[in-house]
């Protein structure tokens, strides 16, 4: 009966898959661990620092890190506030704002991409040019102008970050979705009587879902960098509420004497961004190995 068995091993002259190194397996694990620690301590900020982020002790200003043990393991800042407390509370602002904005940006990008795939030439052209314009204006510049007029409440910041981040998702999803929509199985659905929305819901959206996860991680890290930059420039979260970017700016003047005020939030930003990127790559790898696209 094996006569008609389909082919088991396909023979082709396609290049061999590159060999995977040992670190390609361990690196994502390390990244995940770092993220768990960072996000976990940020979420548990009120447990780690029950006294809050603004507990000043002028006499104890610029205490160096004692690392293990002591009242201020990561030292204190100019007003004698505990660095650890400010870092974990600062993370709430930085990560919170970035996550919300990244979700919104991804959703906006996705919606516009799908609309331009099924909307025909006009809408595709309009959104495409809009994306070009968006890319042509530096995000920081746009943010400076908008925030100068709108003030720096939470809503304007989230809006600015969302507007700065949707293009990436839009571009990624649009290319992928326009390829999917040209496949025969989409025509098969049309033959069964599907209209545009049904096509999106049944076939295009499920096919873009893995990409969306990747786009979300990329968005998150670029938005976190933008958010920190704005906050560094004094446009984000306002003191006394801490934020990583703002903390970097505060400690900058004392970089010689009290490096920790500036360096620690900086390290956290870098670690978060790099870890999220590594995880994003891993997810992308995972999906390209299994069958997502045909």
């Amino acid at each position: 009966m094996t006569l008609l068995d389909d082919q088991i091993v396909s023979v082709s002259s396609a290049p061999r898959a590159p060999r995977r190194h040992w670190w390609s397996a361990t690196l994502p694990a390390i990244a995940a661990l770092i993220l768990i620690v960072i996000v976990g301590s940020v979420l548990l900020a009120h447990v780690i620092a029950p006294e809050g982020y603004n507990d000043q002790q002028i006499t104890a200003s610029y205490l160096p890190p004692t690392w293990f043990g002591g009242a201020h393991p990561l030292g204190t800042d100019d007003l004698g506030r505990d660095m650890l407390a400010r870092l974990v509370y600062g993370g709430r602002a930085a990560l919170g704002i970035s996550s919300i904005s990244a979700l919104l940006a991804t959703t906006l990008g996705l919606s516009l991409a799908l609309a331009s795939v099924i909307g025909g030439r006009f809408w595709d052209g309009l959104f495409g040019r809009l994306a070009d314009v968006q890319l042509a204006i530096p995000a920081v510049l746009l943010a400076l102008i908008v925030l100068a007029f709108a003030g720096d409440g939470l809503v304007p910041i989230v809006v600015v970050l969302t507007v700065g981040g949707w293009v990436l998702t839009f571009r990624i999803v649009r290319v992928h979705a326009s390829r999917i929509i040209a496949l025969p199985y989409i025509e098969a659905a049309r033959l069964g009587g599907a209209r545009s929305l049904a096509l999106l819901r049944r076939h295009v959206l499920p096919a873009t879902l893995p990409l969306l996860v990747v786009a979300l991680t990329l968005n998150f890290s670029s938005i976190l960098v933008l958010e920190s930059s704005l906050s560094y420039l004094g446009l984000g979260v306002q003191p006394p509420q801490p934020d990583w970017g703002q903390m970097v700016a505060e400690g900058q003047a004392q970089l010689n004497g009290a490096y920790w005020v500036s360096i620690f939030p900086g390290i956290l930003i870098v670690l978060t961004v790099v870890s999220v990127q590594i995880l994003g790559d891993r997810i992308a790898d995972h999906f390209s190995l299994t069958e997502t696209v045909r």
Binding site: M1, T2, L3, L4, D5, D6, Q7, I8, V9, S10, V11, S12, S13, A14, R16, A17, L183, P184, Y185, E187, A188, A189, R190, L191, G192, G193, A194, R195, S196, A198, R202, H203, P206, A207, E291, R294
Partner: protein, 574 residues
């Protein structure tokens, strides 16, 4: 069932005295790293100027054999035992560089699909130059001269223009000639054609095979033709090697193996060939009603890169499909037959002309609207691999049209309908929860057919419904389509370039060329007395035509091995 011809082809490589074979493969075993063996000891010899056909179904190991010979096995697959001697020199047990040089200088490979084996970003000259021997490649002028010569050798006119062109600017046939030119660029001893003409239509196929044959004579090449098409093998090779599951089941001169097959697998392969001389399907008799009719259908497409120029894919074509009829539309690629099919099912709109379905004109402007008017016309895709969403299960796929366009009553018993449809296309009900990647090509095509039947259509339009399938699977899908037509009172419109397929399935034929209808008539008329020169040319181009046509005992051949055909019936093994 096949007449043993009195004149055997000259030079049958099995017994060939003192000459050194170009290639001698003995006891070749190939396996995966985990120990699974894929080829279980292949032996053959190839002498200069001779041709060897390797035939078998997908998965039989025919491509694997060819790739093992030229050292292009895919990653993780290695030759584990045996010997390959090229011009008397053993290939194995040499260092990689020597082995590569030995294979490179002695073999040219013509791959299946020129659209993939040529680099779209390089001009023809750049690619040809890469294939030249190092001493010529170093000099641009010498490379150019040699490239011109090669293109002329493979019968490409205006060679200087073509050298500047990119692959997408040339037709599939021309591109395949370029690939052949690259294959002979190093003056090899042997040429390996791996399904070299499968992607081409019959007329183009004939030209390319003629070219390969001519080169074999002129350049004294040994030739290995890997193909699933027994017609090609029968026409073009001296010896044939029949492979099954990595084993050689039969090996000998073509006339002997195909004329008097010893092994039941060879017989099954031969039986699976759509006959050119079998019974034509029953005519529906008097034609009461026209179900689908196009009048003066015209469709133009803009030429890429030039907004003013347009290609006329359809030029006022009239076509009418009567109730119960099975109408074939035949023509080469580019003749407009697919455009016609897409217009008839409403996936495309004609620039001019009227479409009438079941007496009512189809007027919708968008695809969705037109489809609402044409729900009784369904479509079967050419490539079942692309026509199924890889993320859905079989039951989701089949249920989709019911969910989208079924009546409330149908929707409520969706699951039941899906299972009935699986019965109808002879797939086990347990397949409902599988994903397309767990199915073979034939099984997928059955799912495509089940989906097309879900809304109980009256007309099926099938665009090359079997051309991407293995031969034996083809026969059974065609049988299924024939059975369904009888069971469900369907009318068919079948697009195909394969006249044998049409012979088996259709009652009437329309022959198209360059967007126009050149001939129409009943299948019998077209096959026995074609009036148009173009139709005759199409008929002549069918590979293996001389073998499989007009032999007195051929019809009895169909019934000669009932045990064999019966044992290969289950679609589970497609």
């Amino acid at each position: 069932m096949i007449p043993v011809s009195a004149e055997l082809p000259i030079g049958t490589g099995i017994e060939n005295g003192g000459r050194t074979p170009v290639l001698e493969v003995s006891g070749l075993r190939v396996g995966l790293a985990n120990g699974t063996e894929l080829l279980h000891g292949i032996d053959f010899k190839l002498f200069p100027r001779e041709s060897l056909g390797i035939v078998g179904e997908s998965g039989s190991g025919k491509t694997m054999t060819a790739m093992a010979v030229v050292g292009l096995l895919p990653g993780g697959v290695t030759a584990t035992a045996g010997s390959i001697r090229v011009a008397g020199r053993e290939v194995f047990n040499r260092d990689a560089a020597t082995r590569r040089a030995l294979l490179r200088d002695n073999f040219g490979v013509v791959f299946q699909n020129p659209a993939v084996s040529l680099n779209p970003r390089l001009t023809i000259f750049q690619q040809l130059r890469e294939a030249l021997p190092a001493q010529i490649r170093r000099s641009r002028t010498r490379s150019y001269a040699r490239s011109l010569e090669l293109l002329e050798h493979v019968g490409i006119s205006r060679a200087a223009d073509r050298l500047r062109a990119f692959p997408h600017e040339l037709s599939g046939g021309l591109n395949q000639r370029v690939v052949i030119a690259m294959a002979i660029a190093r003056s090899p001893q042997a040429l390996i054609a791996d399904e070299a003409t499968t992607a081409l239509d019959v007329s183009m196929q004939k030209q390319v095979l003629d070219l390969i044959d001519r080169l074999r004579q002129e350049l004294n090449l040994g030739l290995i033709v890997v193909s699933h098409d027994i017609g090609v093998i029968a026409d073009r090779t001296d010896d044939v090697l029949v492979l099954k599951d990595g084993n050689v089941v039969e090996h000998g001169p073509v006339a002997q193996v195909l004329g008097a097959p010893q092994h039941e697998y060879t017989r099954a392969l031969l039986d699976a060939i759509p006959r050119l001389d079998g019974e034509v399907p029953d005519d529906a008799g008097d034609r009461p009603k026209i179900v689908l009719e196009g009048r003066g259908l015209t469709r133009e497409f803009p030429v890429a890169g030039n907004h003013r120029r347009k290609v006329r894919a359809l030029d006022s074509v009239d076509v009418s499909l009567h109730e119960g009829q099975a109408l074939a539309v035949v023509g080469e690629s580019g003749s407009g037959k697919t455009t016609l099919a897409r217009i008839l099912v409403g996936l495309d709109r004609p620039d001019a002309g009227d479409l009438t379905a079941f007496g009512k004109p189809v007027t919708g402007r968008s695809v969705a609207r037109r489809r609402q008017e044409l729900l009784d016309v369904q479509y079967i895709f050419q490539d079942p691999y692309a026509a199924l969403d890889p993320r859905q299960t079989v039951s989701q796929i089949i249920a989709e049209p019911i969910e989208l366009s079924g009546s409330p009553e149908q929707r409520s018993r969706k699951r039941e309908m899906v299972l009935d449809l699986l019965d109808d296309v002879r797939l086990p009900r347990s397949f409902a929860d599988r994903k397309p990647r767990q199915l073979s090509g034939g099984q997928r095509q059955r799912v495509v057919i089940a989906r097309a039947l879900a809304l109980r259509p009256k007309v099926l339009v099938a665009d090359e419904p079997v051309s991407s399938l293995d031969l034996s699977v083809q026969t059974r899908i065609l049988d299924l389509l024939a059975t369904l037509r009888a069971e469900r009172d369907l009318s068919y419109l079948v697009i195909s370039h394969d006249l044998a397929v049409i012979r088996q399935l259709c009652t009437d034929v329309v022959v198209m060329r360059d967007g126009k209808v050149v001939e129409r008539g009943t299948t019998e008329e077209i096959f026995t007395s074609p009036r148009d020169a173009y139709t005759r040319q199409l008929l002549d181009a069918i590979p293996g035509g001389d073998w499989f046509r007009a032999s007195p005992d051929s019809t009895s051949g169909q019934q000669a091995h009932p045990s064999v055909t019966a044992s290969y019936q289950s679609p589970e093994s497609e």
